[in-house]
């Protein structure tokens, strides 16, 4: 066993979590398109084939439904598969397996057949890859009872969520934002599993609560920094888990700040942002000093040109401006 090198990027953090899981438990294996010889379309699994061999780092044909379903079946058969779907855009071809099988078997069987499968995929836009390759559909998946939906935004979560997900008896989907793979940072060499139940306050503040997840966490934190210069203290909450939603954490925060802004890269109508707004008005209505606001992806198929693409996603300046409009002038 080679000495573990502390991962220094989001990509390496995920790779390290896969490596650790595979070393620890021989029921764990990785399968998906180009995960082996190619090294993963985002180079996440690079080098793992050499260490674990083609049985456990399994290249699949481009058959999303078949290999996602095979992951479900293998989980029923006693294995602990990690299924990689290249990106969320292609998960649509496996929706039947995820929604009709993974999410239902435990229930339809009256508790007899749980499905301990982990399905990872890249999500999100911002790389000028146009309408068919820029979706943020994790909010859709969060609509489905029976699965867990995770969205690691930090190196720590990229490193730690997979291990916990593999211990879970039920299907877990992990959405890795494609724009974060290159994100650098330092993790302790002994970084390990993290909880997958709770949201985290990533920045404390007293004037407004920004609720977000994934790549939008970083834009929200940048906006919070800008706002701080203007005397506005924004609390920033990273949801981390979109299903089940840890509402206690954001409701508690809103109870202190009395204002909430939801920032979501996904589309507005019927999105996870709508769900969060609804929970706040259902459960913290009398705490609010202002209407809950949202900044979401503009409802358009993502355009290719940079200026239009930028305009279609939440940006730092817009987040800061929205907060300023919500918070009374600071003197």
């Amino acid at each position: 066993m080679t000495a573990a090198q502390a991962p220094s990027s989001y990509r390496e953090a995920i790779r390290e979590s896969i490596r650790e899981a595979m070393r620890k438990d021989d029921r764990v294996f990785l399968m998906g398109e180009d995960v082996g010889r190619y090294g993963g379309c985002f180079a996440v699994s690079k080098g793992l084939l050499e260490e674990f061999g083609p049985e456990r780092i399994r290249d699949t044909p481009m058959s999303e439904s078949a290999f996602v379903g095979a992951g479900i079946g293998a989980a029923l058969g006693g294995m602990r598969p990690i299924v990689e779907i290249m990106t969320v855009n292609f998960s649509l071809l496996a929706l039947d397996q995820i929604m009709n099988n993974a999410a239902t078997f435990l229930h339809m069987s009256g508790g007899q057949f749980n499905v301990p499968v982990v399905i990872r995929m890249a999500t999100g836009g911002g790389r000028q890859v146009a309408a068919q390759h820029s979706h943020s559909l994790e909010g859709w998946f969060a609509h489905i009872p029976g699965i867990r939906v995770l969205a690691p935004a930090t190196l720590e979560d990229a490193r730690g969520m997979l291990g916990t997900a593999l211990e879970d008896p039920d299907p877990v989907l992990i959405f890795e934002h494609a724009g974060l793979y290159n994100m650098k940072g330092q993790l302790p060499a002994d970084a390990g599993p993290v909880d997958i139940e709770r949201a985290r306050v990533r920045r404390a503040g007293s004037d407004v609560t920004i609720i977000t997840y994934g790549a939008m966490l970083w834009k929200s934190l940048d906006a919070a920094q800008m706002l701080a210069k203007k005397g506005i203290q924004a609390e920033v909450i990273d949801l981390r888990t979109l299903r089940p939603l840890d509402e206690a954490t954001f409701l508690e925060s809103v109870g202190r700040t009395h204002r909430a802004l939801v920032v979501d890269e996904g589309w507005r109508s019927g999105g996870i942002s709508a769900e969060i707004c609804a929970r706040i008005q259902e459960k913290a209505f009398y705490e609010l000093d202002a209407p809950v606001e949202r900044i979401c992806g503009v409802e358009v198929p993502t355009p290719y040109p940079k200026h239009l693409e930028d305009a279609s996603f939440p940006q730092v300046a817009a987040i800061a401006a929205a907060v300023e409009a919500m918070v009374p002038a600071h003197g």
Binding site: G77, S109, G110, G111, F113
Partner: protein, 334 residues
């Protein structure tokens, strides 16, 4: 219509085994006849798909499977479940939606599950079970087991992408799957030749590089022999096997189907090949079974079904306070 059958004739079968096959087919037939009555009586609700006419397929294949083998079936799976050993009581209670049912009543007719017999469900998405069967077989292969997954589906599933993805993947990885296509010539009201550009389904499967064979699905011994041969090949490590069983459903697709799409004469023609009455008369002709034996068999089966219905009637409804159970596992890591 499908091309003429080229099937091997049924092998010589030992008398007690022949009677056992007859008994199993009769259990299915009588159970489902009762189901139809109970549906009319509004005891069973929702979708109900009956298997009348196709019993030889489930009996022939399931009997050939070993106790450790897995099964993935469709919504037309009462027969498979019964032959597999799920008690008639548990099946009937499930159809009633009672918590004594094999899926606690949560699945109903289309979703019979039983962990004890590795019966991994009736799946009601056409083609949806095939990838799961491939995965079960993958787990068995990776764990060094010699078990096989029997995967049942209809001719309609052949038109789905999941069918082709699954056959390819199973062959590519030489997985121990017995694909059993129950070709009853119709997908709801769509006749095979109106859905498939080429109607020889075994040939289609063979194109993926797997062993494939068509068999007379109205002959339980032919099905059983073909399944045994296929299973031996799979267990010898030769990869998946595709068994097309040419059969026919005597009743409607489901209880809602007025059968506008086929002629009564066609159904009557196929009824002449009824796997049950044909086996009965051949056994009688050979003197292998007497009228009195048959009467006793029918009495025993009727008693089993009466008992199952009484059990379902006496069954209890799961309390509504339990509604949200089994969405996530109750035992979680600490």
């Amino acid at each position: 219509m499908s091309p003429p059958l080229e099937v091997q004739s049924a092998p010589a079968v030992e008398r007690t085994h022949a009677i056992e096959c007859l008994k199993q087919m009769l259990r299915i037939r009588r159970l489902e006849e009762r189901c139809a009555e109970l549906y009319t009586a509004a005891k069973i609700r929702g979708f109900l798909h009956l298997y009348n006419g196709e019993e030889a397929v489930a009996v022939g294949v399931v009997q050939a499977l070993g106790p450790e083998d897995g099964i993935v079936a469709t919504y037309r799976e009462h027969g498979h479940a019964l032959v597999r050993g799920i008690p008639a009581r548990a099946i009937m209670a499930e159809l009633y939606g009672k918590q004594e049912g094999c899926s606690r009543g949560r699945g109903g007719s289309m979703h019979l599950f039983d962990a004890k017999t590795r019966f991994c469900g009736g799946n009601a998405i056409v083609g949806g079970g095939l990838p799961v069967a491939v995965g079960l077989a993958l787990a068995d292969q990776m764990r060094g087991k010699t078990t096989v997954t029997g995967c049942f589906f209809g001719d309609g599933a052949v038109a789905e992408g999941e069918f082709h993805e699954s056959l390819n993947l199973a062959t590519l990885w030489r997985l121990p799957v017995l694909f059993v296509c129950e070709n009853n010539l119709y997908a709801m009201g769509t006749r095979l030749d109106l859905a498939q550009s080429a109607t020889d389904l075994a040939k289609k499967a063979a194109a993926y590089g797997m062993a494939a064979e068509a068999v007379d699905g109205m002959d339980v011994f032919a099905v059983e022999a073909a399944a045994q041969k296929a299973l031996a090949a799979i267990r010898a490590g030769k990869g998946p096997f595709f068994l097309e069983c040419r059969t026919y459903r005597f009743r409607a697709h489901s209880m809602y189907d007025p059968e506008l799409y086929r002629a009564k004469a066609e159904v009557e023609e196929w009824k002449k090949r009824d796997p049950i009455s044909n086996l009965e008369s051949s056994l009688k002709q050979q003197g292998a079974i007497l009228d009195s034996d048959l009467e006793r068999l029918e009495r025993d089966i009727a008693a089993e079904i009466d008992d199952a219905v009484a059990f379902a009637e006496a069954g209890t409804w799961e309390p509504v306070t339990d509604l949200e159970r089994f969405v996530y596992s109750e035992r979680r890591p600490t």
